[in-house]
Symmetry: C2
Subunit: 200 residues, 2 copies
DNA sequence: GTCTATAGTGCGATAGAC
DNA sequence: GTCTATCGCACTATAGAC
C-alpha cells in the first residue's frame, strides 16, 4: 500500500510513523461527516491507505478510535491528586486533581473538543464508552485516596464527586459562547457542589 | 415451538405470556454459567424454545436482556423526587428519591441482585450499559430539579450526587456479609457525602 | 422468517528493521 | 536469526433490513 509507506534516501522503505494518530484523525472526520454507525472500520482504514485488519490491530473496537489519547488527561488528573499535600482532606485532593487536569484544556483545544463531543453526543454507543472511561478514572482516584488512608465510602464518594465536577465543567467549557477558562469554570462548579451540601 | 404456546379450553392457541421474563431469566442463567460473550442470543432463545429472531424482537441488543425490568426502580426513584416537599433544597429532593427507590431493594431481593451484579462485574460491555442507564436517570432527575426552579449547575450536580449515593449504597448492600437494609445504608452514605463537603 | 452488512477474531504469510 | 507492522483470508455473531 503505497500510501502507508515512505521512502528513505537510500531507497529503503519503512512503515510510516503515526499510523494510530492518522487513523484517529480520519475516524473523527468520518464520524463527524457521515455519522458513527454509517462509518465502517474499513472506510476509516482505507482513507489512510490501510486495511480494516490493521485498524483493529490499533484499536480493540471502533469506538476506541475516538478515545485513545485521553491518557495524558488521565495522567494529569492523577498526578495532581498524587502531588497534593499529604493529609489533605479528600476534597482537597480532588481539587488538586481537577486543577492539574485543567492544564490540558487550554483555549486552543476548545474547537477540537467541541467537534469531538458533537460526535459523541450523537451516538449512545460512544456515550457509553465515555462514561465507562470516566468511571474508570473515578475508580483509580478512589484507589489513590484509599492508599492515602481515606476510608470507605468517603474515598469512593470523593472520587466520584471529582469526575462529576469535571464532567459538568467540561460540558460548560465547550458550551456555545462560553469563554471562561476550564480552571475558572471548575472552581465555580466545585464551589457550587460544596454549597449544595450545606444548603439543607 | 410447542414450548412457547399454551392451549386454552376452546382449543385456541396463544403465545405464552411472560416470554420476555423467561428470556431474561435464561439470559441471566447462561451469562452466569458460560459468561456473557460466550453466550449467543440464539442459545438464550433456544433454551426457552424460541428463535434468535424472537430474542431481538424483545430486546434491541443482547445486553438489554439484563437491564429490562429496571423501569420500576427508575419510576420509584423519580416518584420519590416528585413527591418531595415543594421548595425543598435540591439535596432534600434527592434524599426523597433515594428513600423511595430503597423500597425496591427489599432483603429478599438481595440474592438475585448479587447474582446479577456478578455477571455485570465480569463484563465491561455490561458495565458500560449499566453506567449509561444510571447517567440517564441522573439526567432525568436533573430535568425534574430544573423544572422545580433549581439553577445550573446545581441541578445537574445534585442529580449526579443522587445516583452516586445510590450506586455506592447498592454496591455496599450486595457486598458479602452485609445485612443492613438499603435504606439504612443509603442514609449512612448520604451523611458521609455531606460530611465530606464540610471537612475542608 | 430469511438475507445481509459489519464488527471483531484467529492464523498464516510477507517484508523490512535490527 | 528475531521482532514488529501489515495484509489477506476465513470465520462467527450481532443486529438490522427486507
Amino acid at each position: 500500500m503505497s500510501a502507508s509507506v515512505i521512502t528513505y534516501a537510500g531507497g529503503m522503505v519503512r512503515w510510516e510513523p503515526g499510523t494510530r494518530e492518522r487513523l484517529q484523525a480520519a475516524a473523527l472526520d468520518l464520524f463527524a461527516t457521515r455519522g458513527f454507525e454509517q462509518t465502517t472500520a474499513a472506510e476509516i482504514a482505507q482513507s489512510v491507505g490501510l486495511t480494516e485488519r490493521t485498524f483493529f490491530r490499533h484499536f480493540p473496537d471502533k469506538r476506541e478510535a475516538l478515545f485513545h489519547g485521553q491518557e495524558l488527561f488521565v495522567a494529569a488528573f492523577l498526578t495532581g491528586a498524587r502531588e497534593s499535600q499529604a493529609g489533605a482532606p479528600p476534597l482537597e485532593v480532588v481539587r488538586a486533581a481537577l486543577a492539574s487536569a485543567a492544564t490540558f484544556f487550554a483555549d486552543e483545544r476548545r474547537p477540537h473538543s467541541r467537534r469531538r463531543q458533537t460526535v459523541i453526543d450523537a451516538n449512545p454507543a460512544l456515550q457509553e464508552r465515555e462514561r465507562h472511561k470516566m468511571v474508570g478514572l473515578a475508580d483509580t482516584l478512589g484507589d489513590l485516596l484509599r492508599d492515602r488512608g481515606v476510608a470507605e465510602p468517603a474515598a469512593t464518594l470523593a472520587a466520584r464527586m471529582g469526575t462529576t465536577v469535571f464532567e459538568v465543567s467540561f460540558a460548560t467549557w465547550i458550551a456555545a459562547g462560553e469563554e471562561r477558562s476550564m480552571a475558572e469554570i471548575q472552581s465555580a462548579v466545585f464551589a457550587e457542589l460544596v454549597a449544595l451540601a450545606q444548603d439543607r
